[in-house]
Each structure stands twice: as C-alpha cells, then as structure tokens.
C-alpha cells in the first residue's frame, strides 16, 4: 500500500527522482573507476571498464523508473504530450483528419443522440427507473396503440389489489376541447388529458406554481372542475403570470378553476408525445370528451366505471422501492389474468408486461431498436470511410516519420512502446474529431428534429420536442466511438510504421522498392474500402430517394385540394350527419370511407387461382366521386349497398390486370379474410377504378380493393368535397354538426388531403435530404482520400520515375503505368461495391412478393454513374498531376530527391 502511494507520488515528482538517480549512478561509476585505478589501470581505461562492469546505464534507468513509479501512466502522459506537439507541428494534416473524423463521428452521434433522447432518456419525473408503462399482449398478436388500452374497471382492480405497485396512474388519450377565457373572446381549441388524481403525486412531479390534484379529486363524477396548466400554455396564454392561479377557464362551456402549473420539463406521458395545454381529473371525462366511449352504447355514460370493455385508458405504475421489476410484472400479470378469467374478450389478453418509460412508447420494442441499429449502421459507413481516410493519411505520414521512428528504436525504444505512442497520437486525434463531432451533432439533431416534426404540423399534430441536450449516454457513446475509431485507424499504420529496418531508416533509405510494395498494398486496401463503402452508400441512398424523386410530380390518383377529412369523434349519428351534409350548397360531395395515406390494412385474398394479400379500404356510395377517383368500368356502390354493407367490391385497375389479365373482371368473385381469422367472405366485383397511390405516395398500390363492408378497420370517416373555400365550408359544416350532434363540436376540424400528401412528401423530403447529405459526405471524404493518397504515392515515386526516364522510358509509358496503378484500387473498390449492392438487391427483391421496379432502376440512375465517374476522375487527376511534375524534373535531380 505504502509502495503504491509512493509510486503514485513519484508520478508527479518524476524529474526530481530522475536527477537523484543520475547522481547515484554517477557516484557508483566513480567508485567503480576508482577501484579499477587502484588495480593499476590508467584512468581512461578504468572509466570504460567501470562502464562495462556496470552494464547499460540507460537500461538501468528504465528499469529503475519502472520500479519507481507507474511507468505506463507516466509514459501515457508523455505520449499524449508528445502526440499533441506532433499534431500541432502538422496543422494541415491535423485539421483535415479532425474534420474528416468530426463529420464521421458527428453523423453517428446525431443519430445516436436522437435515439437516446427518444428511447433511452428517462422521463423528467422522480426516480424514473421505477415508473413503468403497463402493456397488454393479445392472442392475435396484434400490435400497436391498442396494447396500451385498458378498461377503467381493470385500472381499479389493479390499483386496489397490487402489493408490488405503490401507485397506478390512469390517463386518457388526448382530448380536444373548446376553451374560452372571457365572454368576448372567440373560443379556441385546446388539447389536454384526463388523469387520475394521483398522477402528479405518484410520478413525483412537483408543480411549478400552485398545487396538483388532491387525492380524492377524481372520485365523484363531474364534481371537481379543476385544471393544472402546462408550462407552455401558461406562458402563452397568461404570460407566466402567477396570479393566474385561482382564475377560471371555460372548457366546453364549463368553468374550471386553475389550481396549478406543471414544471416546464414535464410534458406528459402519452404513448405518442403531443403538446398539451392542461390536465384535469379523470372524473371530468364526460364533460371534457362528449364523444367518450363507444358511440353505439348510449348507456355507457352511466356504466363506464364498471365496464370491462376498453375505453382506452393508458396505465402507468410506480413499483415499490426494493421490489424487482420482474416480480412486480409477475404479480401484475397474475392479477390481470384473475380479473379477466371470467370475461369473454373479443381478442384474448395473453400477458401483461411492465415497460420502461421513455419519450417514445416504442422504446421497449425490439423492432424499434432494430430500426435504430440499422440507421446507425448506415451512418457508421460514413465513419468507416472517414477512418480509412485518416488511416491512409497516417500511413503516409508514417513514411515521412520513418527516420524519427528509426532513431528512437535505435536508441532503445521497444516496438511496443512506439506503437503505444503512435496510438496515443491517433486517439488524441479521434478525441479532437469526436469533440467537434459531438458539438456538430447537437446542432444537427435539432435541425433534423425540427424538419421531421415540422412535417407533422400539417396534420395539426404538435409533437413535444424531446430533450435533445447531450447527456451522459451521449458523452459515453462519443467517447467510446472516439477510442474505438482511434484504435481502428491508428493500429494498422502504427504496426506498419514500426516495422522498419533500422539501418535503412536512419540512412533515409526506407524507400526501398521491396518495402514500398507491402505498404502500398495496405494503402490500396484502405482506398478500395473507401470506394466500396461510398458506392454502397450511394446505391442505398439512391434506392431510398429515387422512388420519391420520381413520384414528386406524380398524380396521387385522387383529388387533394378540395377534399377534406371531417375530424369528429366517433358518432352514432354519422349517417344522419352525412345526409345533412349532402344538402349543403358549400359541399359538392360527402361520403364515408377510408382516407388515403393514413395507414391501411392488408388482408389475405383469394382471387381466381391466386392467393394474395391486398389493401382493403372502406368506401360508401359517392366515395369515388368525392375523392375524385375515376371509375373505368362498371359502377360504384349504391346507397342501399353501402347501408346494408352488401358483399360487393370495386377493384383498382392494376388489381384487375394482375388477377385477370386480359379478362373482364366484372361479375367475378374474390374472397377476403378481413379479420385475419381464417374466415373468408365472398365479394362480387361490380366496378374497376383508376389506380391511386393510396398507401404510399411514392408508389401506385399493387392491389387495392374497395368495400362497403363493416369489417374493415376504420381509418377515416366523413370525407367531403368542398365547393367554396375552407372557411365558409367549415362554418356551414359546423352549423350542421351543431344541430345534429353538438357533442362533436369540441374536436371538429377539417383537414385537407393535401395535408396528408404534404406530410408524406415532407417526410420523404427529409429522408431524401438526409440520404443525400450522407452520400455527399461519403463521396467528399472518399474523394479527398483518393486524391491525397494517390498523389502522395505518385510523388513518392519521383525517384523511380527519374531512373526510368534516365534508362530511356518514354513519358507516355511512365504516365500509363502510373495511371494504371493509381486507378486500380479505385476500380476494384467500385467493382466490389457494385457487386455487393447488386447482391443485396437480388436478396431484397427475392424476399419481396411485389418486386419494386424502382429499386431495380437504381442501376439506371444517372447520379450513381456520376458518382463513379467523379471518383475515377479524381484518381486520374491525382495520378497525372504529380506524375507530370516528376517527368519534368531532370533525372539527375530526381535521383537525389527525398
């Protein structure tokens, strides 16, 4: 222990210990010499004899240092200092390498930063590790939001029986309300959440102002009209005035007292994080959400607290301290099974699990992690190019440093020692690059997020901005990445540079032909890797974006500008509403049906001799006219068919072509398994429509069936075609809704199909920009790498070229050989990249039942050949410029070069 301490101390008083050691050795040598002199030797001879008897002075010192202190730490500091001096001595090299690494690490850290903010960061609540989201799993394996929906009765049961959970919190998905502050003001739409009274207290969220809910404020139905405001809304509406506590705000006509303001960082716990304005006790749900509960059951309002059907309540729970999550989960699962054992569920719950809470509800889903990993891998390719680049630069520099390294080795430095020193230098380099990269990523993350969330604003969705500030995860990730890349690009050059013939190195003859051969092979490999990876990235990015680029101006197949979705909650009076809407002069059409670009379901279909999966969407009479989808053959649905949910179908043109090529499909039959229960229902085809881009704006639906069937999962509702402008039409629609079903008013809104198209296009635009930036980055890095290395290699051959010219080679021959050698790694890299991309494409299209012609057209895309030509051109220029310079040099000068 004492020794450990002394060694540690010696780390910091190295120079003093060093002086003392030198003094002691000198004394020792003097004594030895004296002895020899006494034996009769002449002084000079005695001195030498003493040295011989003593052994290597420097070796002794080294061993001494080893015993004296933690020599590796001392050396490490020395290495870092030395590396720093070296980097500063070559600012050009350092800057280039740091920029390359900053870009590579920056892109990587950007993606990781967003992943971290969305999936890894804990919610801003007390002790977030113990707060979980309760998730259910169904026999049908159905996945999505419905996994987070529970009945109020289930909530009560869990709350009252659990021993492992210290609190169970219930929230409803966001509700829209009409709010007004004073009499004069026009009402505005606000969104908020109904939550159980223990919501804030059990999450451990302290109010910024006022109080949160009292523990019994959610008991009596409709009795406690109080709200806690979100910080954002409070700032916007009340300018952060503390006197707002105690004031009242009218929501859907009922006055609520403002009791508190939530802290700024707390933005809610919804599975889909939307901006919110307020929270209210769960007992106010009837008043807040008039459409609450199933529209078909008017008795619902009296029963919902005891009902076991799912009104969609999300549950969070806090696990008691000291109880492991697995144990709490086992108990919760058991309780839910007990609760459900007597009930008949339409889709049986097979398990209940407790999930980690994070910004995004899929944070625990393996598919989400897989997607994140895939994107990380793609951006890592850019980093790989950057690493290959820097490694090549280090190799080139290693050649220039051959003499320095040779001298150090001759003076007794071991190879391991020098490798360590070189590695310290490259890690230092990667840390510099990493620091710049992480700074860069902080900016890029925000930029990427703003562009992505901006996309959704077209749909009147306001996503909560996640906390993108780098935290300890990002820091550790960046550090790990730096160390890894530092070793990755540093190791090969360090090994190469230290494999020197001492004699040759000191005499500056490191550049013998044999040695160079081995080295340029490694260089060629690195160069080829860069080119391969760049080609792969280019192909990938083009594949990702070309479908979008080519469909940018394409007709979606339906009318977007004047067609609107009427956003209402579910209403039992939908048909009545539609009838009244048809009479409005402001509208030219009204129908009930699915909405394009809004999620579709793909059902198994048996048609002709084929078994396929097809898109199946809902359509009523008047639907095709309202959406502007043209009928090519046959007819649309009649009112009677729509009302009776008749077994008739209209198919798209491409479906007809695919299933009955060259035949008339009218009158033929298809059968569909719409509920995925292996029960097929028969439909008769009555019409054929023009093709549309219903599922995805970038491609025409391969198979699409329109049905009036009730069995289709609903993704739409009332669709109207507007004759006048939106404002006038909305006012007219509002008056109709007012008279038919006023409970729909709070959420009433009209969103044009253009909005949905814009969202999809916007999303693809961001994706395209991102992919474009990535490939541009890879191309630039590869270009710099190709030029730097090729030019360096050729210039190193100045002497050889001189000899060749002196021996009578023509300049044409010389240039040709230089060109061939310079472009060989580039060409090989391209070939490998191309082959890999083609191979991946084959695998991809083999696994796809409808091979997308767009992917195949990647290889017909001009930009990929542009990229390839560019890389080749760079290699050619990089070979020719230094070669012609070498040719102009007088052979005699060239021979003395270096």
């Amino acid at each position: 222990m004492r020794r450990f301490f002394l060694r540690l101390v010696n780390l910091f008083r190295g120079s003093q210990a060093e002086r003392e050691l030198a003094r002691e050795i000198e004394a020792h040598l003097a004594l030895l010499q004296e002895d020899f002199e006494r034996g009769g030797m002449p002084p000079e001879e005695a001195r030498l004899a003493a040295k011989r008897a003593y052994g290597g002075v420097e070796q002794t010192k080294e061993v001494h240092r080893d015993a004296r202190s933690f020599v590796w730490i001392e050396q490490f500091f020395k290495d870092v200092r030395y590396g720093w001096v070296n980097l500063r001595r070559n600012p050009g090299f350092t800057l280039t390498a740091v920029i390359a690494l900053a870009l590579g690490i920056g892109v990587n850290a950007t993606i990781f930063g967003i992943y971290n903010a969305v999936a890894l960061k804990p919610l801003p609540i007390a002790d977030p590790d113990n707060v979980v989201r309760i998730e259910r799993w169904f026999a049908s394996n159905s996945r999505g939001n419905n996994q987070y929906e529970f009945a109020y009765a289930e909530y009560q049961y869990l709350r009252d029986h659990s021993t492992a959970l210290s609190g169970v919190m219930a929230t409803r998905p966001q509700v829209q309300v009409l709010a007004s502050m004073g009499e004069a003001e026009t009402p505005e739409h606000l969104s908020g959440y109904a939550v159980s009274a223990n919501y804030f207290s059990d999450l451990g969220v302290k109010p910024r102002l006022g109080r949160t809910f009292l523990s019994d404020e959610d008991r009596a139905l409709g009795a406690n009209p109080v709200v806690v405001l979100s910080h954002n809304f409070w700032e916007r509406k009340f300018q952060g005035d503390s006197k707002s506590i105690g004031q009242s705000i009218k929501l859907n006509g009922l006055a609520y007292t403002i009791v508190g303001v939530a802290p700024q960082e707390f933005t809610g716990t919804d599975v889909f994080p939307l901006e919110t304005d307020f929270w209210a006790p769960f007992s106010m749900i009837d008043q807040l959400d008039p459409t609450f509960g199933p529209a078909s059951n008017p008795a619902w309002r009296e029963q919902w607290r005891d009902s076991s059907s799912h009104p969609g309540i999300q549950l969070l729970a806090r696990i008691k301290t000291g109880i492991p999550r697995a144990q709490a989960q086992a108990e919760t699962d058991l309780l839910m099974r007990q609760r459900l054992s007597g009930y008949r569920e339409s889709d049986r719950t097979t398990a209940v699990t407790l999930q980690k809470t994070a910004y995004f509800f899929y944070a625990d889903d393996i598919r989400f992690h897989a997607a994140a990993a895939a994107v990380l891998m793609i951006v890592s390719l850019v980093l790989l190019v950057a690493c290959a680049n820097v490694a090549n630069m280090l190799l080139a520099r290693g050649v220039a440093r051959q003499r320095e390294i040779g001298v150090r080795m001759a003076l007794g430095a071991s190879r391991g020692r020098i490798i360590r020193q070189l590695l310290a230098e490259s890690v230092l380099l990667s840390l510099l690059g990493g620091a710049a990269g992480v700074l860069l990523s902080a900016w890029a993350e925000r930029f990427l997020w703003v562009s992505l969330s901006g996309v959704f604003q077209g749909l009147h969705f306001n996503l909560v901005e996640p906390d993108l500030n780098p935290d300890v995860h990002v820091f550790l990730y960046g550090l790990g990445l730096c160390l890894f890349t530092g070793l990755l690009f540093g190791l090969a050059p360090a090994l190469q540079c230290t494999r020197v013939d001492l004699n040759a190195a000191i005499k500056e003859e490191g550049w013998t032909f044999g040695v160079r051969l081995g080295r340029s092979r490694l260089r060629g490999l690195l160069l080829g890797t860069q080119v391969t990876v760049s080609v792969l990235l280019l192909v990938f990015c083009i594949a990702l974006t070309s479908s979008f680029v080519s469909s940018r101006a394409a007709d979606p197949g339906f009318e977007t500008r004047d067609t609107f979705l009427l956003m209402t909650g579910p209403s039992p009076k939908e048909l009545q509403l539609r009838e009244r809407l048809e009479t409005l002069p402001e509208l030219s059409g009204a129908a009930i049906g699915s909405l394009p670009l809004n999620g579709t379901s793909t059902a198994p279909m048996a048609a002709g001799k084929l078994n396929l999966r097809t898109e199946a969407t809902l359509a009523s009479d008047g639907y095709f006219e309202t959406l502007g989808i043209r009928l090519l053959r046959g007819r649309g649905f009649t009112r009677q068919e729509a009302d009776l949910k008749a077994p008739v179908a209209v198919i798209s043109e491409s479906t007809a072509r695919h299933v009955w090529p060259g035949e008339n499909p009218l009158g033929k039959h298809i059968s569909l398994d719409l509920k995925f229960q292996n029960k097929f229902t028969d439909f008769e085809i009555v019409g054929v429509t023009s093709d549309a881009r219903f599922a995805d704006i970038t491609e025409i639906d391969a198979l699409h069936v329109y049905l009036p069937s009730a069995e289709i999962p609903k993704s739409g509702g009332l669709v109207v075609r507007v004759r006048a402008d939106r404002g006038t039409a909305l006012a007219a629609v509002r008056s109709v809704v007012q008279s038919v079903d006023p409970s729909l008013l709070p959420g009433l809104d009209m969103v044009s199909l253009e909005g949905f198209v814009a969202v999809q296009r916007g999303y693809f635009r961001v994706e395209t920009a991102f992919a474009g930036a990535l490939s541009l980055l890879a191309l630039t890095l590869a270009g710099v790498g190709i030029y730097g290395v090729t030019a360096f290699l050729v210039s190193q051959r100045t002497r050889e070229i001189g000899i060749r010219v002196a021996l009578g080679a023509t300049s044409r021959r010389v240039v040709r050989s230089v060109l061939i050698e310079g472009s060989r790694p580039v060409l090989i890299g391209m070939a490998i990249g191309f082959a890999t991309a083609a191979g991946l494409n084959v695998v991809e299209s083999a696994s796809d039942p409808f091979p997308d012609p767009v992917v195949r057209s990647v290889f017909g895309d001009p930009s990929i050949y542009g990229g390839l030509t560019l890389m080749l051109a760079i290699a050619v220029i990089a070979s020719i410029v230094p070669a012609s310079r070498a040719l102009r040099v007088d052979p005699m000068v060239a021979l003395r070069y270096e």
């Binding site: 020794r3 002691e24 004594l31 002895d35 052994g55 015993a67």
Partner: protein, 113 residues
C-alpha cells in the same frame, strides 16, 4: 567460466540478499553492496551492478531500507543505505521462508536420487 555455470538471480531473492548484506555490514552504498555480492558469490552470480537499483528502490519504498547521502572514505559523494526495523523483521521472515523452501526442494531432490 562458461555462462551456463553462472546463475541468473532468482526472482525475489535479490531483495533478500541485499537485506542480509546490509544487516551484516551495516550502512553501505550501492557499490559496496555490489562488490560484496561479487566477492561472496565468487563470480557465480551473473549480475550487472546496475541490476541492483530496482531492488534498492523497491526496498526503500517498502520502508525496509533507508538511503541517505554521505561521503565515502575517499571523500566521494554516495548514497548510503541502512536496514530499518521493518527491514530487519522482513529479513527474519524471508529467511525463514527461504530456509523452508530450500529444505523442501532439497528433500525432493534427494528423494529422487
């Protein structure tokens, strides 16, 4: 003498030898210790005089010996080492251990013969 007959110093025994020498001779500088070692071993030990230093540092850091600067008889400056109390104890313990060890090895070797 062929180099095969010379013995490399067994790991860890150097500390023991140095301590013993200092106990016998009292305060000594490194050169004297080295000379003494050579005399005793009769050149049997293959030892550069410099090899002594790591052992000296180690022992000093462990508090078993203490070094002070002083003058030799020939009025030269040198660092003199002397054994400390802790060093004496360590020497006794190490000696015992060494005896046991060598006794054991001896026994094993003679058994085989």
């Amino acid at each position: 003498m062929s180099s095969d007959d010379r013995m490399a110093v067994l790991q860890g025994t150097l500390d023991l030898i140095v301590l013993r020498t200092l106990e016998n001779l009292g305060r000594q500088h490194a050169y004297a210790i080295a000379t003494r070692l050579q005399q005793v071993s009769g050149d049997l030990l293959h030892l550069n005089q410099g090899t002594l230093y790591p052992a000296l540092v180690r022992l000093e850091q462990q508090g078993r010996i203490k070094g002070t600067w002083g003058k030799t008889e020939s009025n030269r400056e040198a660092k003199f080492y002397s054994i400390t109390k802790a060093g004496g104890k360590a020497l006794a313990a190490e000696t015992l251990r060494w005896r046991r060890m060598s006794g054991l090895v001896d026994k094993l070797l003679s058994e085989g013969a």
